[in-house]
Amino acid sequence: MKFGVIRFPGTCDDVDAQLAAARVGEAELLWHRDRDLKDVDAVIVPGGFSYGDYLRTGAIARFAPIMESVIEFAHSGGLVLGICNGFQILCECGLLPGALLVNDHLKFVFRQVQLEVVDRDTPFTRNCPPKLSIPVKHTTGRYYSPEPVQVTLRYAPGQNPNGSQDDIAGVVNNAGNVFGLMPHPEHAVDALTGSTDGLTIFESIRAAVGERVRVA
């Protein structure tokens, strides 16, 4: 299978996302000004500071030409994973419900967090163990939604790094094909950096895509 990883001006986790995706499949870079998704099976909107976080995190990136193609891809059932700034962008463009606000303590937070996988019946979490250890690094990660949402990941009790509503760390859309999370699975794929739990998310996507291909 082939992953596409988008690079916007200010993106900084695209290379790690590509390296992580390349452990389970092919990984191709997608440029923000292009519209061609290069026949990828899944799109990753990676972390960073797209467009300098000007106005609001993710507010400008959602209007990039590539995002029109990503929205179309998602509406036709394609798998889209948004990590950190990617999560913020997916919320801003309406593919995911809710919004991300500045951390309740106002500080940048960078640490390993323990997560509970509360929904393993998604294409993104089907191969995950019940608990994950994955790092977070953000200033704007306090998830908020006035409407009920489909929660996929929660911070374990006492682990919430940003004051997010109901300890939410990741959500999927109603159709289950768009997933956003604040922790960085692409930074947890090698034992050298403390955890390989993040890899299970990429493996889940590969398994889900493989199943779709077989069904088709």
Partner: protein, 74 residues
């Protein structure tokens, strides 16, 4: 026309920036300060002011978490 858009955190949503400023002021000796909120100001020249609400809804503010106020002929 010169216009000014004031963007504020929606009431009921925790505003840690406002809280931090509210705590900082007494530390400098300014007492009697409460209900501090920190928002954003956007100033712009527009040919068609009737487009301002749509600009706010689609880009300048996130209506889920922010209220906006448009001041025309600013």
């Amino acid at each position: 026309m010169r216009a000014r858009v004031l963007i504020r955190p929606k009431s009921g949503i925790l505003d840690p920036q406002g809280q931090a400023v509210e705590r900082a002021l007494p530390a400098l000796g300014f007492g009697g300060v409460s209900k501090v909120h920190v928002g954003r100001l956007v100033e712009l020249d527009v040919e068609d002011a009737s487009q301002l609400p749509a600009m706010c809804e689609r880009l300048l503010a996130n209506p889920l978490i922010e209220d906006y106020e448009i001041i025309e002929n600013a």
